[in-house]
């Protein structure tokens, strides 16, 4: 009879507490990325620019500010990196300012995550066909017109008809999100 082996003790290492920098990245990264996307950056480009914005802004002391100021500092840095990359610092300044203002208000209301929640509530309230159309449209490759043409056919529409439908749905969503409580 073999002696019963003592079961090995497995100690699961407790996760190390996040550092201040990690917390800051976790808090702001997604919103900086959203901001860059809203300015017009492609997803992979937004990844790179967001990373660079953090490097530049934190080197200049952004981490020492109040959260709202840190967020604003990061956005401003991201905006300049984006325009610098385009080699066009004067591009549609009114639109860029409006995006700034919109994100400043969004930040004051808890950032982009509540906004995404609001969108999901509003999508849930759409008629099924409209919801399916918009979710599929944004889910396919934006550059692949063929796939989007197939999508239109799936709904029994011509490409232009699908775009008209989506335009109406977007307006509905925008109106809904403005009314949806934070």
């Amino acid at each position: 009879m073999t002696p019963q082996a003592t079961p090995p003790t497995v100690r699961i290492p407790a996760p190390e507490p996040a550092t201040a920098v990690e917390e800051l990245v976790q808090r702001h990264l997604r919103d900086v990325w959203r901001y860059l996307r809203t300015l017009g950056a492609r997803p992979e480009h937004a990844d790179d620019l967001a990373q660079e914005a953090f490097l530049v802004a934190l080197r200049r002391g952004a981490a020492e500010l109040a959260p709202a100021a840190t967020a604003a500092f990061l956005r401003r840095t991201a905006r300049f990196l984006f325009l610098h990359h385009l080699r066009d610092r004067h591009r549609d300044a009114a639109f860029l300012d409006a995006v700034d203002e919109l994100f400043a208000r969004e930040e004051a209301n808890g950032g982009g995550d509540p906004q995404l929640d609001r969108l999901r509530h509003c999508l849930a309230a759409l008629p099924p066909r409209a919801r399916e159309a918009v979710e599929l449209w944004y889910g396919v490759d934006a550059d692949d017109e063929t796939r989007r043409d197939h999508l239109a056919a799936r709904f029994g529409l011509k490409p232009h008809g699908l775009k008209s439908l989506l335009q109406r749905v977007r307006r509905q969503l925008r109106d809904c999100m403005e009314k949806e409580p934070t």
């Binding site: 990325w33 967001a50 109040a66």
Partner: protein, 351 residues
Amino acid sequence: MNPNEPEDRSPSMRAAMARLDTALYEHAGIGPAPDLEARVIAALAAAPPRARTWFPSQWLLAASVLLGVAVVGTVAWLQRHSTVQRATAPSPQDPPAVPPAPQDPEPAPAVERGVTWIADYADNLVLAVDATGKVLESLNEAYGVWDVEPIGDDRLLITEFTMSSVREIDRKTKRTVWSFGNLKNPYDADRLPNGNTLIADSFGSRVIEVDPKGVIVWSFAKDIRPFDCDRLPNGNTLIADVLKDRVIEVDAKGEVVWEVRGMPFAHDADRLPNGNTLVTLRNKGSVVEVDRDGEVVWELTGLMSPADADRLPNGNTLVAENQQVREFDPRGNEVWKKEVSWAVEVCRQAR
């Protein structure tokens, strides 16, 4: 995606729709790269953030300044003299302006440029520069400043759009000696002769006058989005209203006593001594002077997103644009320039 955009093509509507698209893509699974957070944290660990300093090495800067004194002095002398020459002999090539000058466009007299205060929105910075462009003073601890004005010789009033506050700062200690924060993204504030402060509470959709204790003693909030406001010598208030693309003058009772429409995205409006009004149209890249009938009597075009303009006592016009502040004579010739990252406000103070 960009299916046919809605009819409203205003910047704010386009921004709202672009934001909606971002959220819809995110909902569909197109978000940041899954490893982006780890990448950023690793990159920051490899290049740890430094504390904010005003120069990588203050000793290095001091040495540079000392070595450059002679050069700067020479350049300053040359700039002062060449500026006057340019003003008297405007270059015909590629002038940035097409100004039917309202007054006899005599060459501007030699001027003492004094101190020019600039709010640099990109760099979170307020600067005071002399005629040579040399930085005399700076304020770093200011966030998203869209307006700055000196009060006397030792104070500054700044409007922080980002922080939704108006602060009076002691220039020597950099300490806040007065503030008002019950605001929503204001663009402009002025200290009045009676000690109160007039504030364009832009996204609070009101113009308010607050006393030193922070009590609102006057307000105008009739369907406006004010980007600029000035108390006029007659007691009325001039307001640049972006909501309705207009500039209005309202009396103490809140009645609109003067209005000029068709002023899209007016970031600034100043009543001039001759009774005309100078309006900065950011979207159009222009500054216009309109008379009491709303007729444009002078126009400066080809500007880069101007956010503020002041008519100087010598008849020149000082403009804050993206990347620079420029002074133009009445013919539209550039007679002075200071490059910055993103100027949104400028004012000139006699020394």
